[in-house]
Amino acid sequence: MEIDLKLLERLLVNVEKPIRYVGGEWNAIKKDHDCVDVSVLLAFPDTYEIGMSHLGLRILYSILNKRNDVACERTFMPWIDMYKAMTDAGIPLYSLESRIPAGEFDIIGFSLQYELSYTNVLAMLDLADIPLFSTNRSESDPLVIAGGPCVYNPEPIADFMDAILIGEGEEAIEEIIDVCKEVKGKRLSRKEMLKEYAVIPGIYVPSFYKVHYYPGGNIKSIEPENSVAQYPVKKRAIKDLSQIHYPDDIIVPNTEIIHDRAVLEIFRGCTRGCRFCQAGMIYRPVRERQPNSIIGLAERLLDNTGYDEVSLMSLSSADYPYIYEVCKDLLDKYKNQGISISLPSLRVDSFSVELAKEVQRGKRTGLTFAPEAGTERLRNVINKGVTYDDLITAATHVFSEGWHSLKLYFMIGLPTETQDDVSGIVDMAMETLARGRSELKKAGIKKRPEITVSVGSFVPKAHTPFQWQPQMPREELIEKQVYLKKHLRARGLRLTWHDVNASFLEAVLSRGSRRLSRVIEYAYHQGCKFDSWDSELRFDKWMDGFQAADISPEFYGNTKWEYDRILPWDHINSGVSKEFLMREAEQALHGMFTPDCRLGQCPDCGVCKHLGILPKTTSKT
């Protein structure tokens, strides 16, 4: 039953930004649930502003609502004040469109974008009055599923999910709906029902697998328990983006969200092969959209939303062969209409600066470069093909073109890192600042350069060449942060860093096994929510949880694992072979660079072979 708006309004007057909880946005779709066969609730375990900025949610929302037999709605994690108000008033988690309690939907799909949102998943299930553990759910509960990059190691949240989709959802979600329609009338037991879903390619039903451990916690084996359980579970991937619906009628929020602009995915995947980067492995192969299709989509997006900015999104937008032409075309077309283009994730090179110059003709936002590491040696280890000269040349270019602020992104705690590498960060930042001063002066600009150095901590991720590598102990990471704080002191220089406790938890959950579900549950029951928010993280409660479950977090976070060890995610196949990852791990230790396959040489990562999909590029000839 729909939640009475009057009842809700009594809560809304007392919470921050109530507009987040009432829906009613432009392009939102509200259907009569009595007139559809299946209702789906897309649940994002973070605030409205973050969740609405996520492209995957928008794509699935659009695909599902295009079907006449489906009503797809949204829900987000209510902020602390609203969560408490709802709990106190007995109002369950509800959908924004129809204000229907989450528990009344047929399917709830969680988007798992980062590990530190896991307690929010539990909080949302709890607020929806749905049992946290899959095994405790009854026939009347919704099917609780999950997807997103985190599920490439699904184990820590496996016990909370009825089913998990590995890989891209555009096609699989329709198959899930079809199965749902079929099983609805059949009065099957929960287990029988899950068997129907388990045969959909890419679907992992955790309860159908048994994990056996050695004493001490090492995994002995992961075995499917019945004949319908896939082994391994191979990720789903779209062959050709042009064959798949892309939303040109995205919701325009009634309040400012993090990425408040029209979003257009120009290609998917990246094969630059940075060895720490999970996105660069799991989204392979590269599949590009055609330039004229991009132009057409951009026009429809702008017309349908009224946004004045379109973001040409991908993992490395300057890599798109026709990026310059596409930007120029769009800018010429929208000249004098106050429309701008944004390009996330630029490379460290002069082409990117020229490109930024073109797209930021009027409004200028700052630029970000990510050299990631401080020395040539370490950049070879991580396969980041950027030299010192590349950065200094590009930065010089940036300032001579009149920008005065630049952000540099680095990581500490990378495998093989030494003090030289950390000092290298200081050298690069200082030289960039010096170039900034001289170039701005030369150009006659009276502004001081502003350099923001953002330093993250390395987190080993599943399905990357560094998956066997430990995260550096927190004390050492702190030492490095202290060193940087001491040496990166200059006028115009700003240093930001990540909380090492949060990075540590992220590492533990990234490489965690199923045993961690008890720890997540414990942390949630101790009040942990919004762990990715520095202001909300209750690290001590998490540590209590590890102790209570007799699990050493260092075993998952800070231990180097041998190649022959069974990994918690060994039954999940990203298409990229373990042999390739091992080879890359070895290449890394020898500082050997592996070029991007788009340049012609196939490093045999295995993805094309395993998935039967070829890279789709619009290469210029």
């Binding site: 309004e9 507009i19 432009w26 309040t255 349908n304 009224g306 003709r361 009027g362 409004k363 073109e401």
Partner: protein, 243 residues
């Protein structure tokens, strides 16, 4: 080449101002003023109105808005000036804009004005509000009626207003032009006309607090539905709409 390549947009002179009176009701009452501005801007762009752009490096559609409403207060009377580069048929333009607004925002009246008219912020001098008690609230309507009578009989009602510049005491009484109960609305509503603008301003939430205080009710914020009913200028001692 060099920084000179950066384009500074010329300011476009409007041929007319389309002044619209719009509602902000339903869930849109929860939009902040900034949210509301962004929404009207995007709706106008979706409607394809011939908006002029401000000049500068980051040109924006030129619009100006009547004084901000607090979050949670509805309105039947928000005014917006849209600076247009060509005149429009107001019936057609209203229809287009209404099709592009999210539900809750609607054009209810409009006029084409000369681009030289005084700005909305300079024109508006008064606002009227209706404060309706929630039906389920158990309050004696008599206590509200008594509060209203007492407010009228006071010479001075001081409040402390905190601004970034510090705190100061203001006498609101002379800025309350009219206040009366409407027993015909169940259970009860209060209608009030107050000063609104640069030469004197009553914040409606302050007035709501004052009413509850005089009625001896502790305000926990859930007692009233507040709606801005009108915005006015003075024409020979009487109120008229800011056309």
């Amino acid at each position: 080449m060099g920084p000179s390549r950066r384009i500074r947009y010329e300011y476009e002179a409007p041929v007319c101002i389309w002044r619209i009176r719009i509602t902000k009701t339903g869930i849109t009452k929860y939009m902040s003023h900034l949210d509301f501005i962004r929404t009207v801007e995007r709706s106008a762009r979706r409607a394809g109105l011939p908006l002029t752009l401000s000049g500068g490096f980051n040109p924006r559609p030129r619009m100006s808005f009547s004084p901000a409403l607090p979050v949670g207060v509805s309105s039947h009377s928000e005014f917006v000036d849209l600076f247009l580069k060509e005149s429009v048929d107001i019936d057609v333009a209203s229809w287009k804009l209404n099709k592009s607004f999210p539900s809750g925002i609607r054009v209810i009246a409009s006029r084409i004005l000369s681009p030289n008219v005084s700005a909305l912020s300079a024109v508006i001098e008064a606002a009227s509000y209706r404060l309706a008690l929630h039906a389920e609230v158990k309050i004696d309507p008599g206590s509200i009626a008594k509060a209203v009578t007492e407010i009228l009989s006071e010479d001075s009602i001081e409040i402390v207003r905190t601004t970034p510049k510090g705190t100061r005491r203001i006498n609101l009484r002379p800025l309350i032009y009219d206040i009366r109960t409407e027993p015909e609305n169940l259970p009860l509503s209060v209608y009030s006309v107050v000063a609104s603008g640069s030469s004197g301003n009553v914040r409606i939430l302050d007035l709501a607090d004052i009413i509850l205080k005089f009625a001896g009710i502790r305000n926990n914020g859930v007692f009233m539905d507040i709606t801005r009913e009108g915005l006015y200028k003075f024409c020979n001692e009487s109120l008229c709409l800011p056309w």
